[in-house]
């Protein structure tokens, strides 16, 4: 086997896309001359990015593994937020108490309700709506858009058409002052939760057999089946987990915005698709970096040139695609 002895180059971490995050932050510092303002904006951008990551990570995995572009993903975001809102409104006293333990006694059940309801809806959606249209992209777009509209209307039926206010818990509202920089507690929490979720996803994907199956399935689902695994079960697990994460992201986003409404999921979908495209469709790492970039760019632009804020993420996507046409971390599919 002498011919097999040629050297194989090891795969190094592609750090360039990762370096874009600090590069963007440092570049912004040149224009935002006030350091405290820059710190506040950076934290806001990172928090926004983490919440976008929570909502988008399931969508990118579902696309990578199942080749399904689920336009109804926003429903899971809204449903999660509404489920949590129901719990939090019922436990209003605990939310407003100036005690972290009391706040947590309301927030934890709210998060669990959001994850459970969004996950269950994801399971139902995969079985009833997605399963008949595997492999047919045009129909996927039609039925998932249809599903989005139907479930939005169902939200109106169950929770009514009015916006539900969702105040921040007492101990998580307000800011820390570090020097002259104001660091919002809730944004810090969002960053920590986002990092914890990214770390958990990384561990599952890289240190477990399920993760091995998911990574292999994203590349070549048919070959995974040929090795003796029922990839459909992995599909369902990923779809449910992705929906549950969207629900969790929905709660965080709803509290961040201060209210929930039936269209909140749909409104954020454009941003999620931009993040997916920037990161590389199917790539969790790319989704993470893309979400942080979008979060930072939106906040910096909102401060420096408010009129351009809406277009900043699109401009970012265009620039990234000019550099890497398949996104920051493209996933090789067989």
């Amino acid at each position: 086997m002498t011919t097999a002895d040629a050297q194989v180059p090891g795969r190094k971490l592609d750090w360039l896309p990762l370096a874009l995050v600090p590069a963007l932050a440092l570049a912004a510092l040149l224009f935002i001359t006030s350091l405290p303002t820059w710190i506040t904006l950076t934290l806001a951008g990172l928090a926004m990015g983490m919440m976008i990551f929570m909502m988008a990570s399931g969508l990118t995995l579902v696309f990578g593994l199942m080749d399904v572009m689920n336009f109804a993903h926003g429903v899971f975001i809204s449903i999660g937020a509404y489920a949590a809102a129901s719990v939090l409104v019922a436990m209003k006293g605990a939310m407003q108490a100036p005690s972290l333990a009391a706040n947590l006694s309301a927030i934890v059940p709210a998060l669990l309700a959001a994850i459970a309801l969004a996950g269950f809806l994801g399971w139902f959606f995969e079985r009833v709506v997605i399963r008949p249209v595997y492999g047919d992209h045009l129909r996927q777009i039609l039925v998932t858009m249809g599903g989005l509209i139907v479930f939005e209307q169902l939200i109106h039926v169950v929770w009514g058409p009015d916006i539900i206010p969702l105040p921040q818990p007492a101990t998580l509202s307000g800011s820390f002052l570090v020097g002259n920089a104001a660091l919002e507690r809730y944004r810090l929490l969002a960053v920590l939760v986002g990092l914890a979720i990214f770390a958990a996803m990384w561990l599952v994907l890289n240190r477990t057999r399920l993760g091995l199956l998911i990574r292999a399935g994203v590349e070549n689902a048919e070959m995974v089946e040929s090795l003796g695994y029922r990839i459909r079960l992995v599909f369902i697990a990923v779809f449910v987990a992705g929906s549950a994460l969207a629900g969790l992201g929905g709660v965080m986003w709803g509290i961040y915005q201060g209210s929930v409404n039936a269209q909140m999921g749909m409104q954020v979908m454009v941003l999620l698709f931009i993040v997916l495209i920037i990161g590389g469709l199917g790539s969790v790492g790319g989704c993470f970096v893309g979400a942080l970039l979008v979060g930072l760019a939106t906040n910096y632009t909102g401060y420096l040139a408010p009129k351009l804020a809406l277009g900043s993420s699109i401009l970012l996507m265009v620039l990234v695609l000019l550099w890497r046409p398949r996104g920051l971390y493209p996933v090789g599919k067989a």
Binding site: T2, R11, L213, V218, E219, N220, E225, G332
Partner: protein, 241 residues
């Protein structure tokens, strides 16, 4: 002739509007290496994919180890001891060599003794154990694809064009590896276009043309009959040394 481990009777496969397999009948004797030959587009790959359940037979019967399998889902078939190496090798480029093999070993994990045997067969697998499969050369990828299929003993190996795109020196290495494989208890069905490779290894042969089997028999008989080679394959084996 040994009893057949695999037999196809009147197998038809449609892909969309195309009628690819049009009544395929042949048998793969237990314990031997059968070559499935034929011109491009004859239906060889479709035949292998239909056996593996990746494309469903629209008519006919496929029997494996005494049971009908034409309706058996692919994962279940794999767990019955059928391993498949597709034409594009199907390796997971983003996984390491170790992870590719670990996945193929399924629930049992990697057996050290079996692994030692694999490393003797394909030393590159040991050398590049923690390298990403996508970084391997074409020959190394093919070795990984075959190593993955035999990481555990399998009853039937379905291998699609293992020499495709490989350099002559690598093909020579492959022939040695297949000779070693033939010493195991596995039954092997290989789709191949390289006639030198086919003649070197095949015990029996089936030739396809236009979705049908047009010849079956021993490899020696086909190798010795140049007019038959010309008629069936349009080429002489002698021209493919």
């Amino acid at each position: 002739m040994p009893e057949a481990l695999l037999s196809l009777a009147g197998v038809n496969t449609h892909i969309g509007q195309y009628h690819i397999l049009q009544g395929v009948d042949f048998e793969v004797p237990r314990g031997g290496l059968t070559m499935l030959l034929g011109r491009n587009g004859a239906g060889k790959t479709t035949c292998l994919r239909t056996i593996m359940g990746l494309w469903k037979a629209s008519a006919g019967t496929i029997r494996y180890d005494g049971a009908e399998i034409q309706r058996t889902p692919t994962p279940e078939l794999a767990r019955l001891g059928v391993a498949y190496v597709p034409e594009n090798m199907g390796i997971f480029a983003g996984l390491t060599v170790r992870e590719n093999l670990l996945l193929a070993a399924r629930d049992r994990g990697l057996d050290a003794k079996r692994l030692g045997w694999l490393f003797d067969l394909f030393p590159a697998m040991q050398k590049f154990w923690n390298a990403f499969a996508g970084n391997l050369s074409g020959g190394q990828k093919q070795m990984l694809a075959i190593a993955r299929a035999i990481v555990e003993p399998r009853k039937l190996l379905l291998i699609d064009e293992p020499t495709k795109g490989l350099a002559p020196a690598v093909i020579a290495s492959m022939i040695e590896a297949f000779r070693e494989l033939k010493r195991t208890e596995s039954t092997i069905l290989v789709v191949e276009q390289n006639f030198h490779f086919a003649r070197s290894l095949g015990d029996s042969v089936a030739v396809m043309d236009s979705g049908r089997i047009v010849h079956t028999g021993g490899m020696d008989g086909l190798a010795a009959d140049e007019p038959l080679q010309q008629r069936l394959l349009g080429l002489s084996l002698g021209t493919h040394q």
